[in-house]
């Protein structure tokens, strides 16, 4: 696996975050299938190392944009379980006061723009955030999360090109989970990797094992440093896999069984647990304890959300304009 030299606190925190996201997603799925949770959901089970590894490389003042699949990014960037769960339940305690919902999770105070559910839509926006950092001479970095499918949108081309020509402090992170919704990436992209697309813009691109949280962290760290020191964008392709449906009740029948099986063996949390155990950075009891703490946190958040006030119907009319 990845280079060592990290303290156990740091490593266990990465682990804790990934478990938090996984368990959050599992709990949410259950609440959704039970009919308790409203709306629709796109979950990131299996892709936790991407969100956690990248966000671990960021400062609180750095800003991310996210997609229709934002739960992991939100939790990794510091939105609390309470704020996220509240939003998924559409409560006033949610990070968007119930106006956003699952697909628009975010809070600028935590460095996350409300997630943009239009595929590719966040790419120019993240570029503009980075432009502002550069113009204001702030040493902050923008990170744009997107899927493989998003790299076929015109917005990708326009956004990344502007990031490149203006040498902006932005990192474009592609979570390549092999599918855009149900469509295999091989049907819609002809190059071997997506990171090659970076060459079109004259910026570096790398393809990384996105299920190896430390590899992701290392690559993100490098890209973020590059951005922060004024050297411009990087296109970071993280190879991963979605081990749940695309949304809601999707049984993902388009994913071949064999592929799914391999993916389950390769999922990031099990791998990182093994890494920690093998190196005796934690014992199983400690890992179990983390899972338990995380579950308690989630459970408490569910209860708080269910007890939290619903928005009033007429709140619909608020929050459009400042004045």
């Amino acid at each position: 696996m990845s280079p060592t030299g990290y303290g156990p606190d740091f490593l266990l925190d990465l682990y804790r975050q990934m478990v938090l996201i996984r368990h959050f997603e599992e709990r949410v799925k259950y609440l959704f299938l039970e009919g308790v949770m409203p709306g629709t959901i796109h979950q990131c089970n299996g892709q936790e190392a991407c969100a956690v590894g990248v966000c671990a490389a960021l400062e609180p003042a750095d800003v991310i944009t996210s997609t229709h699949r934002p739960h992991g990014h939100a939790l990794a960037k510091g939105i609390t379980v309470v704020e996220a769960m509240g939003e998924l339940f559409g409560r006033t305690t949610g990070c968007c006061k119930g106006k956003g919902g699952s697909m628009h999770l975010g809070d600028l105070a935590k460095g996350m723009v409300p997630a943009i559910a239009i595929v590719g839509g966040g790419i120019p926006v993240a570029t503009g955030i980075a432009l502002a950092f550069k113009m204001k001479k702030e040493k902050r970095v923008a990170v744009c999360f997107m899927g493989d499918g998003a790299t076929n949108e015109g917005a990708f081309h326009e956004g990344v090109n502007m990031g490149a020509i203006w040498t902006l402090p932005v990192v474009y992170v592609v979570e390549n989970n092999l599918y855009g919704a149900s469509t295999p990436v091989s049907w819609v992209v002809r190059t071997k990797t997506i990171s090659e697309r970076s060459r079109l813009y004259g910026i570096p691109g790398v393809t990384i094992d996105g299920n190896d949280v430390l590899a992701v962290y290392v690559a993100a760290k490098k890209a973020v440093r590059r951005a922060r020191t004024g050297k411009g964008p990087t296109l970071l392709e993280l190879m991963t896999y979605r081990i749940t449906g695309h949304s809601r009740r999707d049984p993902a029948l388009y994913q071949p069984e064999e592929e799914k099986k391999r993916a389950l063996e390769n999922e990031p949390i099990g791998r990182f647990a093994k890494y920690l155990l093998d190196r005796q950075l934690a014992d199983q009891r400690r890992l179990d304890q983390i899972a338990e703490e995380v579950d308690q946190e989630i459970e408490a958040a569910v209860e708080m959300a269910l007890a939290a006030p619903q928005p009033k119907p007429e709140d619909t009319l608020q929050d459009l304009f400042v004045a």
Binding site: P38, G101, I118, S182, P251, L317
Partner: protein
Amino acid sequence: MTMKRLSIAEALRECIRGEMRRDERVFCIGEDIAVRGGWGGAFTVTLGLEKEFSDRMINTPISENGFFGVALGAAMMGLRPIADVQYADFALLAMDQIVNQIAKMRYMSGGKLTVPVTMRAPVGVTGRGAQHSQSLEPFLLPAPGIKIVCPATAYDAVGLLRSAVRCDDPVMMFEHKLLYGSKGARAESGAIDASSEIPEEDYVVPIGRAVVRREGADVTVIATLLMMHRSLQAAALLEQEGIDVEVIDPRSLVPFDWDTVKASVVKTGRVVIVEESPKRNGVGAEIAATLAEEMIDHLTAPIKRVAAPNTPAPFAPPMEEYYVPSVERIAEAVRQVTSY
């Protein structure tokens, strides 16, 4: 004449299958429409069609502006594409191809070429928040060169889609998520049964012809899609209060069947227009404005529009419920104009 009861999603699927069998120039283009084990687009309409038409189900990258342009190019060369977006909101990405190219190409050519593109887009506020909820009718009505249809029943969906595919002009069909009757993983909560008995024979519903869904003497309610169904429910409610409501489903917005609407207004003198979009410059704006220009002497009460407020769609259920016109809001509007 045998009949089958089909949901809109099923009926559209069989209709597309029939058109593709009938005419080999017809093909489908869109995202996730031809993946085995997939969903047949976002709402199962094209489910399984790739098995029969492996060469004519063009599964695109996520490139809305791009594939609408591709549809235009193919149509000018004599093919008859059916292009769909997964949610109408995403058609905003393709506004250049739809409004600047598809809609204008024939006109700019001096009428020398034809653009037989059929477009399909699901609309409706359905628990998904602000970016998966828009009714795009108001954004296309100002664009000359596109016909617009909005079927509220499976029967009309089939008849209008046949007309669209066989028409040499660009046609946009808006379909409602809660009316599809999509099943399995793609079922919608809050769905309404819009299924119909679909005749075996090859019927069409002409573009530009409204239908009176319910005859009534006191007030004319005009609504399409989900709002048409809610208007019928409101009418049933109001019947018990002694108010006799006529419900007109225009079915086509461009061209619009003014004759049917005006005849009704002559009879009732009262008009309520219902729609799911924000009120400002919605579908009702043009209807109300035209009636104010041409029918003012027949109106015995002010026109009333029932619509969403001028905000994006909120997520939380209590707000969403407030946002979308309810049966009760429609009924209340009717009461107001009848008691004027």
